[in-house]
Symmetry: C2
Subunit: 411 residues, 2 copies
């Protein structure tokens, strides 16, 4: 089955909006074995829409259309679809029930403009839109499926995930299962070579995708086939067999983040945390406190951007910095122990490094970073050689520090 995606909207052609929908839809289709042949963005113009639909239907068997369905722009796409299918608009009880449900949930009366949104071409099947009042419409003609959806990304995504993909899978008699594993502390290419034997042992119906982000690489496993149980077992087996190769880098699953995983561990153990940050400049505290309820386990941080503050407020002995430098094992150990005893927390993180672009020396080049973790029983420290980009160094050091703490919490 070949597919095409058509996005309608003047805002796309003046560059006001980036079309992120098409890539997302293409990825979903690709995963279920449907190849996307072309993506076309056109304006809200009837003749242009008609021509584009006709040309696409000559090349593909599935056409996904987004945009042009808001209450004020309604007419153009729906009227054009009527013209294309040689039919007319009728009132849809299903579409209207959806509009009413959404409005009553918000405690608002349905307006006449929104009532009009329940008018749809007579030959379509209305598909539920859980997050909006614009209807999703499914057409079939001459062996080609046409699906018209709203262009608002969170509406489109919910429709695709909850309705379109499952219905296409049913039509294709296929099932799909995803699992994402989050890794930290290893670059994409190094990880790829580490897990190569495992990757080669995956059954052909389990696909692996590398999704790198600053400071982490996500591994997404996708199993695609006909028997849910077989797929589930294959995914479970693949996950289990990955651990011997890369288990020490895996810190979470699916929608986890490093800060949420660390937060859950601290919460479940009833433990508290403080941080003493030099080169990360408060970024670790900021990540931790981005999680709602983090005040239950996070007591605070001292960002010590000068040596005097490291000495005076974290109790790092002047001699330690004078003899070893601010970026050293001895300094980060004193910083971590200093904040832990001062802020009276169970655990503490400290970081001192050269984020760049200035400040590097032959002995300690830009990217040199020391991280320490103080626990109730010991303090450990580790040196990292990160890169030469300030923003990425701060991000990587923060992730590495949180992952070191995670390791200690998981022990």
């Amino acid at each position: 089955m070949l597919a095409e995606i058509i996005t309608i909207g003047d805002e796309l052609l003046i560059g006001q909006v980036i079309d992120t929908n098409s890539a997302w839809m293409a990825e979903q289709l690709n995963v279920i074995g449907i190849k996307v042949h072309q993506i076309t963005s056109i304006s809200d113009d009837q003749q242009h829409i008609l021509t584009t639909l006709k040309e696409a239907s000559e090349r593909a068997q599935l056409i996904l259309i987004t945009g042009g369905l808001g209450p004020t722009k309604d007419d153009i796409t729906k009227q054009t679809l009527c013209k294309y299918f040689d039919t007319s608009l009728v009132f849809s009880e299903t579409a209207y029930a959806n509009v009413e449900k959404l409005f009553s949930a918000r405690g608002v009366a349905v307006t006449e403009l929104n009532r009009l949104q329940a008018m749809v071409p007579a030959n379509c099947r209305v598909v539920a839109n859980p997050n909006g009042t614009a209807p999703c419409m499914w057409f079939e003609k001459n062996g080609c499926i046409y699906i018209s959806m709203p262009g608002v990304p969170f509406e489109m995504k919910a429709i695709m995930e909850q309705e379109i993909i499952p219905q296409l899978l049913t039509k294709l008699n296929r099932v799909i299962i995803h699992r994402t594993l989050l890794t930290e502390g290893v670059g994409e290419s190094h990880l790829a070579s580490l897990i190569e034997p495992w990757e080669e042992s995956l059954p052909s119906f389990v696909k692996l995708a590398y999704l790198p982000q600053p400071g982490m690489v996500r591994l997404r496993l996708t199993a695609y086939g006909t028997d849910r149980k077989v797929l589930q077992n294959a995914i479970d087996k693949a996950e289990k067999e990955l651990y011997p190769y890369a288990g020490n880098f895996i810190f979470g699953f699916d929608n986890d983040t490093m800060e949420s995983v660390v937060g859950q561990l601290l919460r479940s153990k009833g433990m508290t945390l403080s941080t003493a940050e030099s080169c990360t400049g408060g970024n670790i505290a900021q990540l931790i406190t981005s999680i709602a309820g983090s005040s239950d386990y996070f007591k605070g941080s001292i960002v010590a951007y000068s040596n005097e503050i490291k000495e005076q407020f974290l109790g790092v002995p002047h001699k330690v910095i004078a003899e070893n430098g601010a970026v050293s094992e001895q300094t980060v150990i004193a910083m971590a122990e200093g904040i832990r005893t001062r802020f009276l927390t169970d655990f503490a993180i400290s970081v001192s490094g050269i984020a760049g672009p200035g400040g590097g020396t032959a002995e300690k080049p830009v990217g040199t970073t020391w991280i320490a973790i103080a626990t109730p029983t010991e303090t450990i420290a580790r040196k990292f050689l990160l890169g030469d980009h300030r923003g990425r160094n701060i991000r990587k050091a923060s992730m590495a520090a949180l992952n070191m703490l995670r390791g200690k919490l998981a022990e």
Copy 2:
């Protein structure tokens, strides 16, 4: 003049890469009065490329093509262009000089693979690519301009900004000037109504665009015409006349950020800063230290996420918190003065608020935020009622605090 954009690459059709290039190019073209009629993404397939080029040339007079020009994928797009224009590849001295220049700057020898990148269709004019080895090629045939560029965004953008747009402007006999003003402390719709009389007074050749981001709204003025001097005067006049309407919200221009503007002010005055953060959780320190060289004026921060730390390390009297709460004018004033005297800085910022989603009361709902600025001569405090989204509240509070400091520094 009508334009079409064609993006070539399998990665687009499997959803691995979002096509951000097209929107950016469309915006640039729109600004110089060239309307984009259609954007088409296709795979690295010769027949598909040939058909798409032919169809586009029947609708438009300018066709921008990106992608398919890397050293390993070279052949397909360039060979296809040869076939399309009925010509063959020749060695281009201009393209090779560019490859050599880039390699010698990196101290690397030119490889055979890169030498091949200097082979271009005989009928093209090579346009400089300052950031990469792939050539940009300009073709003209039957009244239609075809421009083939690499798909790497930072290469494409440099070529467009430095070469294509200026050359198109020369061809159209037009000039364009931009100026962007950055505002903080006012939402997009409120700003729009405040400056409506000014916006209506703008000459027809000066266009205004609202570019909202979390915590700020950028206003971009674009003047488009034939006489650079007239445009420059019109932009200068428009900027000057905007101040009576919104001058107190404007904090910077073009590529400034709030943290860079505040940093420049501190540096130029030889002044230092510290922060005491509760609800922002280190985000202000993190923004300030994202700027290289910030250790010259930033000494550090205490993130006081518990009342005990506010009392013990910032010197907020127990009575102040007990009587007024941690989110109060009295508390933030004590926090700002506490960090300023302890860290021995000229200025200090403090923030305490309810970021949410929990912690709100009838008297102090989620979003209630107090901010104080301590200066060498006084301490001021202000209450903000932000929204109900934790991440945006943290961002908005950080921007508001930095802008309050900016106001004091600019006095």
